[in-house]
Symmetry: C2
Subunit: 263 residues, 2 copies
């Protein structure tokens, strides 16, 4: 029986989703909890290999089991053994042919800047502090030039394993709510560090250090040097993954898709 | 010269605002930073003695100094020595007669429930997890019965030092945004554990374990047993403190008065 989990985590304490020798990974924590909950050592396949320090509101991961635990009970069983910064909040049975990574059709990422003279005491782990003022209108206009299908080869860090660098962005915008400047992007997929390279470039555009046209230049020339630095991981969150309707997935209950606003 | 600071902190790691022998306090951290920044050991007076684990978006605290550091530079000086879960985000000179605690006219507290089957991985430190469904409309109606001037003696834990138990509530409401149920209250002051006793009672009202009339009963009878349990500290945040206009205080810049919403 193949089970699909919806998993949320605060990435601060982890080397990333995927198992690594040099520190604790979210995948390892989930597999350890599965071992304690089912008695079996089971390999879990995540939809997205989030980097060290990157958060997830909703990572999706599947695994195969012969356990008699009902699919919807898995969150309760696993959360008993998981640390509080990792929560499984939904479980469902899926077709044996379904694959959490290969069948992902759209992914949404959120990158949060905290734009104030001093960093946030409360939101420090989930935001990237930018002390100098950001022109969010200019950032919003600039990032929309990335919409559509493009070759994003200039937007990839070395170390990626993608066969093609062509991707499609369906949604990209920047919005300010008080000191919070939020960049949200939905695409068919993303190259290694692509969202953080866009975020780092947006900082430079917002501060007038780079022209809003630099995205177009980078798309046309493929030149990484046309862009800004890679923004730090703590501001990034994997927010949503969508699959084709034919898989007939259940929608998880509301689970705190938190964007801070002034109130 | 008397300086007034606006201070934000994540209370999770602290025994509370006030200095205590049994662990690190926010006051101690600020005084240590002042010692490093000015060379002087200076006593800091906070407006509110927040409990262990309680957060502050905006604590106010004053101190006297002969330092030549300009008032508006104190945040930059102190943040160099403070841990990231404490940030001083505004500093201003105030009248020598001004007192952060005695001159506070209104305080606003926010209590956040995370109402979903599983706790939040991301918001765990700032919310109180309530797995059973809460009727937020019923909670909102009930809490408004506390508005106005009343004797809140039923709403105080033992250990308080208040001379009178009469307080005035100016604002009290409950609002839902997805799994976040937020209780916000503004009053002339609060008795020891008063906000957490109201919050704990709201959980019981929202789950139908107590009648929405229990607040009225407790006000009329003074009976602590008419109310629910004291809610845990992690859901509570000191959100705002207001002083009389005659002190001519400067308004700090926007600093992330974050209320999470579905987006």
């Amino acid at each position: 029986m193949r089970i699909l989990l919806s998993i949320s985590y605060l990435g601060t304490a982890y080397v990333g989703w995927q198992f690594q020798e040099n520190g604790p990974s979210v995948q390892e924590a989930v597999e350890d909890a599965l071992l304690k909950g089912t008695g079996d050592r089971i390999r879990v396949t995540g939809a997205s290999r989030t980097d060290a320090g990157v958060h997830a509101l909703c990572q999706m991961a599947h695994f195969d089991t012969a356990s008699t635990i009902p699919p919807e009970r898995f969150p309760f069983v696993l959360n008993r053994y998981l640390p509080p910064d990792i929560r499984v909040y939904f479980g469902q049975r899926v077709d044996d042919a379904f694959h959490a990574r290969f069948d992902a059709e759209r992914k949404t990422y959120t990158y949060r800047f905290f734009n104030a003279p001093h960093a946030s005491a409360v939101w420090n782990a989930m935001t990237c502090h930018v002390p100098l003022p950001l022109d969010d209108r200019k950032m919003d206009t600039a990032v929309r030039s990335l919409l559509g299908e493009h070759d994003f080869c200039a937007f990839a860090a070395a170390g990626g394993q993608a066969k093609t660098t062509v991707r499609t962005l369906f949604e990209a915008n920047v919005e300010r709510q008080g000191p919070f400047v939020t960049f949200r992007v939905t695409g068919s997929g993303f190259l290694y560090n692509m969202v953080r390279i866009i975020a780092g470039t947006l900082i430079y555009i917002g501060q007038g250090k780079l022209s809003p046209d630099c995205f177009k230049t980078a798309l046309a020339t493929g030149d990484r040097l046309a862009l800004g630095p890679t923004a730090p991981p703590g501001g990034l969150e994997l927010s949503r993954i969508r699959y084709a309707a034919r898989w007939e997935l259940l929608e998880p209950p509301p689970y705190g898709d938190g964007v801070p606003v002034l109130k």
